[in-house]
Point group: D2
Chain length 309, copies 4
């Protein structure tokens, strides 16, 4: 059962962590626990199989299971967005069918991430992909992983097709985000969504529609409050909440030395909060004890009352 | 005659374009015209010999002249910051003497930009530099040109010395800016200044102190209004002004194909606005006629009444 | 029917272009023509589903077909290497089963290419992968696409497992190649193979074992001659052949503006040489007429007698 | 007294380390010792104020002293090349005067390294610079420090002026080096010189003219032997010497964690070999004791007889 997306899609849309028991075994119970935790936390939609969802590390079988189970558990209570990013257009289309068949509401796609396309090639890729999809599409900018940025004019060109209903940007570059927002200024129905939680508040103040923020897996209420404070232009409150967001970012996400620290910190934290196992798919692995202790300490120093109320 | 800096330094601080008659000839009349234009426009301080000032393209003789003439013209009417970035610590120190002798109020320094240092080396560089300076120091993050970012912890470490009074960030990375702001949260006297004008508004809302924005050379009033709207938390007005800022950014700065387009667009625009010659120092050169026409068209489409009142 | 690999694997091993009729339709006839062309040209082994083979752009169904058909056509006449690079370890293992079941001789794997691993993570990834493979493994360094280089010490660490029998480097960095060769100097059975044909000759002179060179799809004899000249230390002849290689590289591969130019030039050239269709899988597409004309001109200027004898 | 350069300049041309007593104090005695050591070692020319010479870290006063003293000590016994790379064309020209006045034989210039130029801008920069020089010019490609590569066609375009007599490439990219060599194939008088010593041997075999190799400061004879072996096409001997070169590269240059490790390792090694002080200019500093011990160990493991005979 699907749930129509109001345009533009707005609010906090957690990029779901994929709970795992082993490399190819979904933790269905953990997933249920997580989704209920997020719904209670007041989030506005869910986004599965993104970077935080470790989609590229998972088998296709498991990706399919993740779509099915999420749609089943959510059961129309809020929109479900499914990320279908792939290096192969055919595999992307196939995942979009699974999403549609299971009642998801939209798909999301980052550029093919092996052989980086140029801008005209990027536009053509989407012009070929879109007619094969039966769900509306969000574009997903993730240059640190795909090696390419959508030029603002490329976003506008692709979005001439009305089936393209929004844009998620994980570049962390605010000049770039403002440029895309400006390029799309005559499309008030086009959702502008922010990846990094550290800059969601300020960009919602400036007109962005919401955040696809990893930290919302842990503390959905905090990010929903941040979003609401920005929507209500309550700067005082926004700054207070931003400080919590920065405390999380400066502690939990920066333990360890590799780019994967964010993911490991997030999964360890969810484990410590009692939500499920901290299994991380290859090529990564869960934190060792020493790092886990640091996450525990970071969590203790957060004001849990604020976060979990 | 100098003018003490109130801590933290706040407001709009244009990075002065360096008006040139030829590769090694300062346009003193143009400089006077520019500075009076900026003072009338209500800016809060001036920043000379930055990236926009083409400092690295200029001879040392001309850099010295630029310092002297700016200080002479300003004559204590507002603080003058002098950028002393150099690959050689000795040349940096020498420029700082010139700045101090001529009554400038502070110096600004980006990391040595030939052989990129690591973080401990960066901290040590400043620990060696600072005792040799007789003016307070702002750190200047400009990774696209220096190939290195100050880690937030490195900023904090360097700023343990109270002679370090602020930070300018031109990375365009809002997550990074928020991280440095968070790392420095217990130093309310430490100025957090934004390079890119496209993100100055949102960051002032979140607690930053101002912007070192190139566009303020052309339209100082626009950026001062933007800053004030953010200070007063007038979001409605801020969004309106932001649209103008983005119109400038999406037109004047993006003509031409190279990284130098920003600089050429800015200088051409100042020329067309009647402020002075559009001479650009080597390795760059002024726009050709075709590109100049595009700048003219971009200017015509801006609402000049708003900008120049 | 497989064909045991002599250690170290040596010679010219073309990375097969994947002949396509449409995005998901293998051109089996074209594949047969290509393989016979290569065998006649004297190549020493074949490498399928690499970067030149557009593997990441193909559906898994088509990748499986490509493995099956190549093994069937080759029928034990030379070793077949199958690239199983994937972001998911499970999908990599699955492809390795297909390779083994169809009689391929070895598999090849580049690092997971979405979320870049650190060096210890890279080593662990292979330590997990290797026990699940039933064929020997070549490591594949391709930093422009995977965003990570195997450190020489990481290669050595992974290659402690004797099932790892070689290394292909497409970094174009000769200092790096020499460093890995030096790190592996006590393993004379470990094959050091060069990706870029422009540097194969010189590195074979210095001790490398061969080249996985895209141009060998077009002119297998040229690259085999180059390899032989290097093996025989016939520098005079090597320099002559190198000039042809550089003529190809400086013309056919550099038409067009994007990173995909190499691939498009190669496929167009094969089409013009009468080998098959020039269809390129999404996100790319075949050259337009204007660019095709340039490839034709480049081919005409090559001394075909030399190349095709 | 100058010494005419034979075209093309060939052989081993050490990029002189700059011996320092303190940040702004040249060690003239050390310089004398070093130059005599190099002349005894049989090198073919000297290159001062390059990256290895820490030129950008030095004051202009010291750069001038370095030029003067080197020319004085060499006294026409071999060609002296002076690097005049600067971000300011005026300062570059000024250094070229100093070089000419003191009897140097040629100047060398890398692109302006603060604000990276595009290819047409790069060509124009040199077209403006060259007429102001009174010595012949070598171009210097150093993309890791300047953020820009000379396109092969840009080298050809700049070298249309016959005052441009050679090219030094420190990119480590052998495909690139071959491409420039191919683009310049009709200019047998144009010197193609290799920066990284790890790839000098193989490229001299393929037609390059020599190496500007940092390690030649320590062991000039080794690199001269390597060059001669390549010139004589004695592959056996070349491979033996290459192994020594790689041993040095894999030990002395890779102690420490930052890009400066190469420089620190080299200066420490020269100190331990008794040539002079290991003072490194800011932003760097000499190795600590622990790292110095590692350099000592690396030196002990080298076969000194071979190196210093």
């Amino acid at each position: 059962m699907s749930c129509a997306i109001k345009s533009p899609l707005s609010g906090i849309i957690p990029p779901l962590v994929t709970p795992l028991i082993d490399n190819d075994v979904l933790d269905k119970e953990g997933l249920e626990k997580l989704i209920e935790h997020l719904i209670e936390g007041g989030v506005h939609a869910l986004f599965v199989l993104g970077t935080t969802g470790e989609a590229q590390s998972l088998s296709y079988k498991l990706r399919v299971e993740m779509i099915k189970n999420t749609c089943r558990i959510v059961d129309g209570r809020m929109p479900v967005l499914v990320c279908i990013s792939d290096t192969s257009i055919i595999e992307s289309v196939r995942l979009s069918y699974v999403a549609a068949d299971n009642g998801a509401d939209a798909v999301v796609s980052a550029p093919p991430y092996y052989f980086a396309p140029g801008q005209p090639e990027l536009a053509e890729f989407y012009q070929r992909l879109i007619p094969q999809l039966s769900l509306p599409l969000f574009l997903y900018n993730m240059p640190s992983h795909t090696k390419v940025n959508f030029a603002p004019s490329t976003v506008r060109r692709i979005a001439e097709d009305s089936r393209v209903i929004g844009f998620k940007d994980s570049s962390a570059n605010a000049v770039y985000f403002q440029s895309v927002m400006y390029a799309m200024r005559e499309r008030p129905d086009f959702a502008m969504l922010v990846g990094p939680e550290e800059m969601t508040g300020e960009l919602v103040l400036m007109g962005a529609h919401g955040g696809i923020n990893g930290g919302a897996n842990m503390f959905p209420r905090l990010y929903v409050d941040l979003y609401n404070a920005a929507k209500e232009r309550n700067i005082e409150k926004l700054q207070q909440l931003q400080e919590k967001v920065m405390q999380i970012s400066s502690t939990i996400y920066t333990i360890g030395q590799h780019a994967s620290s964010y993911l490991k910190g997030l999964k360890t934290s969810l484990y410590l909060l009692g939500i499920w196992s901290d299994f991380v798919a290859a090529p990564f692995h869960r934190f060792e004890k020493a790092e886990q202790m640091k996450v525990r300490k970071a969590l203790e120093e957060l004001d849990m009352d604020l976060l979990l109320r």
